[in-house]
Point group: C2
Chain length 387, copies 2
């Protein structure tokens, strides 16, 4: 099954980098695009009106968290995520699989699905492919994710030995999880009943290129509306990650959107855009913000530091966000020093705008055929820490 | 000394209730007016741009807190509160006296001033009338407050015996503190060097009407730019408070603004407006908001309660705030249940707008000569708790 009301078209290419346009039932997404993370239906400290003002196009929510509280039934009766939260543009939900395996207690995976104890009420629950689709259909996101088997990253993938990246003998467990992910993907496809919700399949296979290519071929054969790279961003070498992305893109249909889940820094993003990724989500801009780390064209600012005590300049002088328009670094430093929650909010607004503007600039650079020089500029400034 | 760049004119009266216009170097304040409280230079979770959007006209900051962090020298070099915080409209600062006596350790009051140990760094400090003026001049508020002697409320004032309200023998300490407040007020007047900052004197005298009248006469004789009721809102009977306000207003010059410090609920406000108060500040709207209590035309909503779990209506259907525009009660309840800081922010925006709109409506009712029916409407709805 393919969803109705969606269309993805490429508008420009620069090498493997590409810009495009994803039409959804709740609006258009210019790609490559960054999705702010609204874990529980809210980006921390940031409301729907703020996201609109910042230029967000699409927002991600975590299925597992919303399943626990307030429950997908409550969200569904409120008109889905769009009605419940007030963000009426496009939504993407994850499958819940990654959250369950990383957060839940007494977790056990078998062919049926993931059995776990809720950390909220202690009750045993089972997340199956069918259940993941049903919950996401109730939440009503425009884009949903198939359930995949998320394995903890292998030590080998975390710190590959020289000369062995992407080769070597894949773990038996990696192969088994990849194959089970294909079977679960097929069950997700069969379970769909909402024609207005796109479903994206997930490529697994650990750090082994051959395994990930095999996964991509199998996933593409299931005819999803888009495809995601799963199991990356868990500590692996960035060069290896880029190689694995390239290998998988060679297999995936070029006319479907490609999503790199949960990644990453500005450098990670431009490296992945260079290899043809269209969609991103990451908690880095908001999590860094709450810890007082602000992104800027001149590098990252640890805003609590003494050097900013009397610095009247905005966090990033070239930035057009509400924080930079109204406030200086000295005020932000003060807010963090007195633990005023406005500090985390203002920093989050700034960092989100920084990311959204990064993607705007990437799209423009692709359109001009100047993506490589834009990438170099980002890699250079992202390496600077203003401490 | 009287400040330059200020003008206060009355525009309408309805009984003792009055509306007016206070011109300051940073803009006009239509009175009666409510001042949101930005203790540390920020209303919790609310930025300068939000205050503008909500229709705030003037904001209050706490001198003592800002003296501790970041220090008035830092604020002064950033261009005062206007430059430091981004709120470029009128500011009022308190004298620091009340905060010192309620928050600081090892506090001792003598004729010179208040000696105390800073709770931030433990060092001994002295707040004198001259120091209170100097700190407030460095902070650069449009309106500053004279240092008064703040005594803890007497049990008699908290729960007066029937037939003894406002009469009886005032405590010797109340008289002494009132007289010292007059001497400190004179020292504050002499210490002023900034012609662009108004200074308001404070009436004290505990719960005794004669003592407060004497205080008002003495304070008025010092020729301040405005006058405040001090030492109220500390648990006394609201009827007694209203009587004390009336007694003092009979003595104060009618053409100067009158400020009831730190008070109160919507009912408290309309009762005081009825007796001719022009300025208010209070933490109730924002503190209640952070605890999940929202004001509405139909009474107060304890938003965490189960009855709101699937209630899609805005907190207050007649409200024009950003929270009511975009979000329903079910979403707000969810945010409070998952401890998402956006809940406190959205509730704060709503409650602040509720208070600011209450004052807008009071001004309009005075202009129409219909204040009594407006007062009755507020007293009735404020008595309802929607639990």
């Amino acid at each position: 099954m393919r969803a109705r009301g969606f269309r993805f078209e490429l508008t420009a290419r620069d090498g493997e980098a590409r810009s495009g346009r994803l039409e959804t039932p709740h609006g258009r997404v210019e790609t490559p695009a960054f999705m702010p993370v609204a874990t529980l239906g809210a980006v921390r400290g940031v409301a729907a009106a703020d996201l609109r003002d910042l230029g967000a196009q699409i927002v991600l929510a975590n299925t597992y968290h919303l399943h626990e509280r307030p429950g997908e039934d409550v969200v569904e009766r409120a008109g889905g995520l769009h009605g419940f939260t007030g963000w009426r543009g496009p939504w993407l939900t994850d499958s819940g699989g990654f959250q369950v395996t990383s957060l839940a207690d007494r977790m056990r995976i078998d062919e049926e699905g993931v059995t776990f104890a809720s950390p909220v009420d202690g009750r045993q629950r089972v997340l199956t492919p069918e259940r993941a689709v049903a919950i996401q259909q109730a939440l009503g996101a425009d884009l949903a994710m198939a359930l995949d088997e998320c394995r903890p990253p292998r030590p080998a993938a975390r710190a590959p030995r020289p000369g062995r990246e992407g080769r070597g003998d894949p773990g038996i467990a990696d192969r088994a999880a990849m194959q089970r992910t294909l079977r679960w993907g097929e069950r997700c496809q069969k379970a769909r009943t909402r024609p207005d919700q796109a479903l994206l399949g997930i490529v697994q296979g650990g750090a082994d290129a051959a395994l990930r290519r095999e996964s991509a071929r199998g996933t593409a054969a299931l005819g999803f509306d888009g495809y995601a790279h799963g199991g990356l961003g868990l500590g692996e070498n960035p060069e290896l990650r880029c190689d694995l992305i390239t290998e998988v893109h060679a297999v995936l249909p070029a006319d479907a959107p490609r999503y790199l889940m949960g990644i990453g820094t500005p450098s990670d993003l431009v490296r992945a855009i260079e290899r043809g990724v269209d969609l991103f989500d990451c908690v880095i801009p908001t999590r860094h913000a709450r810890h007082g780390v602000l992104f800027s064209a001149a590098g990252r600012l640890a805003i609590r530091n003494a050097r900013f005590k009397e610095d009247p300049s905005p966090p990033d002088p070239g930035c057009d966000c509400p924080t930079c328009r109204d406030h200086g670094r000295a005020y932000l430093r003060h807010l963090f020093h007195v633990n005023e929650m406005l500090g985390g909010r203002l920093a989050s607004l700034h960092n989100l705008r920084f990311y959204l503007r990064l993607l705007e600039r990437a799209r423009a650079a692709i359109g001009r055929g100047e993506f490589p020089s834009f990438r170099d500029e980002v890699l250079e400034s992202d390496a600077v820490a203003q401490n």
